[in-house]
């Protein structure tokens, strides 16, 4: 039973996994309240908003760099082993990755301060799953080819880099219109980690060389670590009185390993039609102290097999020289576990954009309290069309990763807004995305799809993402 649970858990984890967490379609798409989550300083043309619980924001991303499913599994008659050798083992580099994320907006509410209408407050809870697995190139070559034909080649252990986590985030943000030109925002966050596993900054190598005495010498120099929290109790849950569901729920509700963080952002109006924005997200940390289990492999060992050198070995006639050899290696490169607490910094994300509005704008009117038809009578939006660029940078285990986006945004009538993007990043240079925001009275629905060209042949796509959600919005004049 525990195995089945583990498999299901792993599947969920895997499916939820890939991606660079870039939300270029949602960024500055301020008709959608969830845009506050990626820039707390975005324009907020709402009196209040309430996300429909659990479906106000669902975002799934998946990406692979360097290879696609189609590259391997296309029914092309090419020998599968040849494809794996050419496109995976020899084709991918240690900087290629498989990754993804799932974000689920559980609660999202915002309201304008009646006494200080330039302030807009928002708060809520969202859950996030993400995994990044870098391709362990050298170890893959070692597994595929072996060491016999790779004498003197150092197989680097630094290629071992992986990260995965599940957490919930409780947040509260303030968005303030400081002046007609400047809007600032900040959001405080409490992280509650459900589980985490990470292995990075590893070093060392395995090499086979000509021996000093014997024909061959194998050498392992290792400084490798896998840090986990929250996984041990899940794996060994069978012996627990608490079900896995209850365990995960408890951890999600501030019962996990806790951390603190913040987001900041701004929107600055350069002139009537041009604005710039920026945000810095997830500046924070999680302190892992509960259910921590770390695995380490550290040391140096060289081995040429059993050595019998007379006359010294006459003393070993009654000892188990094989067992001694094994013990020596295990002592030189011990594989150990510990429960030392550790701190994980959140993957900081940076957004920046410039935007130019053009086209005839609808005439604004003063505030009204006209309920369901508020959009029809009073447009709080300051554009008809907009174009611009967006830069996204995320700090990943092997260094920063960037994505550059050009976008076009337009409003069609009062109810519909569309945004089209072209994005170039590590995963693809042909990422065209399309976002739609639809307002029916107070009900807001949005759906944002990425890398649409990939839908021509989904298995051949390096990247896909989809976000959608429902909100109830009462609009404010901006």
């Amino acid at each position: 039973m525990i195995k089945i649970r583990l498999v299901l858990f792993t599947m969920l984890f895997s499916v939820a996994y890939l991606g660079a967490q870039n939300k270029q379609l949602l960024y500055d798409f301020y008709e959608i309240p969830q845009s506050l989550l990626i820039n707390p300083g975005v324009k907020t043309p709402y009196k209040w908003h309430a996300g429909i619980p659990a479906i106000s924001g669902i975002a799934v991303q998946a990406g692979t760099s360097g290879i696609t499913v189609n590259d391997l599994f296309a029914n092309d008659g090419i020998d599968f082993t040849d494809k794996v050798r050419d496109k995976v083992v020899n084709g991918l580099s240690q900087r290629d990755e498989f990754g993804g994320s799932l974000q689920l907006d559980i609660l999202n509410i915002g309201f304008r301060n009646a006494n200080r209408p330039e302030d807009y407050y928002s708060f809520g809870v969202y859950g996030e799953l993400s995994v990044t697995q870098y391709w362990p190139k050298d170890l893959a070559i070692l597994a595929f080819e072996g060491n016999a034909n790779n004498l003197n080649r150092r197989f680097s252990l630094s290629h071992l880099t992986t990260f995965g986590e599940g957490l919930s985030v409780f947040h509260f943000g303030i968005n303030r219109k400081v002046s007609d030109k400047l809007r600032l925002g900040a959001r405080g966050k409490i992280y509650s980690s459900i589980f985490e596993a990470k292995s990075k900054s590893n070093s060392g190598y395995f090499v086979t060389t000509q021996g000093q005495n014997n024909l061959l010498r194998n050498t392992l120099v290792a400084d490798v670590q896998l840090q986990t929290s929250g996984l041990n109790e899940i794996v060994e849950n069978e012996d627990s009185n608490e079900s896995i569901g209850s365990l995960l729920a408890r951890r999600a509700l501030l019962g996990g390993n806790l951390g603190l963080g913040f987001d900041v952002g701004f929107t600055y109006q350069l002139n009537e039609k041009t604005s710039i924005t920026g945000s810095l997200l997830d500046v924070g940390f999680i302190n892992h102290t509960k259910d921590v289990k770390n695995f380490t492999l550290e040391g140096t060992a060289s081995n040429e097999g059993i050595e019998i050198i007379l006359p010294e070995s006459f003393e070993d006639l009654n000892s188990d020289i094989w067992e001694n050899l094994i013990d020596d290696i295990e002592a030189q490169v011990p594989f150990e576990t510990n429960s030392d607490s550790y701190i994980t910094l959140r993957p900081i994300k940076l957004n920046a954009s410039i935007r130019y509005n053009f086209g005839e704008q609808k005439q604004k009117t003063e505030d009204c309290y006209c309920g369901i038809n508020v959009v029809e009578n009073n447009s709080p939006f300051d554009y008809k069309n907009a174009v611009g660029g967006h830069l996204f940078i995320i700090n990943k285990p092997k260094g920063p990763q960037a994505a550059l986006t050009a976008f076009y945004q337009t409003r069609i009538g009062n109810a519909l807004a569309l945004k089209a993007t072209y994005t170039a990043d590590k995963f693809t240079f042909t990422n065209i995305g399309l976002g739609l925001n639809f307002q029916a009275g107070p009900v807001n629905f949005y759906i944002l799809g990425d890398n649409l060209l990939g839908y021509r042949n989904i298995p051949d796509s390096n990247y896909a993402s989809l976000q959608f959600g429902f909100n109830i919005i009462s609009w404010n004049s901006n």
């Binding site: 794996v84 080819e145 019998i308 109810a415 298995p459």
Partner: protein, 177 residues
Amino acid sequence: MKKVLSYFFLFLLVSCAEEQNFDQFDDLSVVPTLATGIFYFESPEDVINQLPPGSFYNQTFTFEAFNEAFVSERVLDGAITYQLENTTSKELNLLVEFLDAMDNVLDSESFRMQPQPSPLFEREVAYGNGDRSLDILRNTIRIRVTSENLGDNTSESSANEPRVILRSSAVFRVRLQ
């Protein structure tokens, strides 16, 4: 507006996928070739001279490298290479025997070496693929090394640091997938 919505959902939902064949994974063949030293034996001539002619070293030691499940269940074929060097003044015989759990001799290699000057000698013994049975290696859990001086125990070689050396290594192909 309906048109716009229709096109959007059409784009997202009506997608294409080239035919994929995931059964190909069953055809994946991962067969690395692994290499390692097995054992090294060395005896200087003065040690041999300190003992009467005949057997001067006999040792049986555990050797479970081939018997490990990872190797025994996956090994396809392989070879053991022996390299011998004798710079002593004596004719020597080295015997390497592979033993099972009951100390039955599964296989053996005997090396008779002439006194110095004798050339570096190398022998490769193949297992699997019609050569010697892989079961020999799979069932080997001990190795016995016997060294025998077939000459006298007084003569001395003119070579610098005279000694007898037996080196050995194994190269095996194992199927991981």
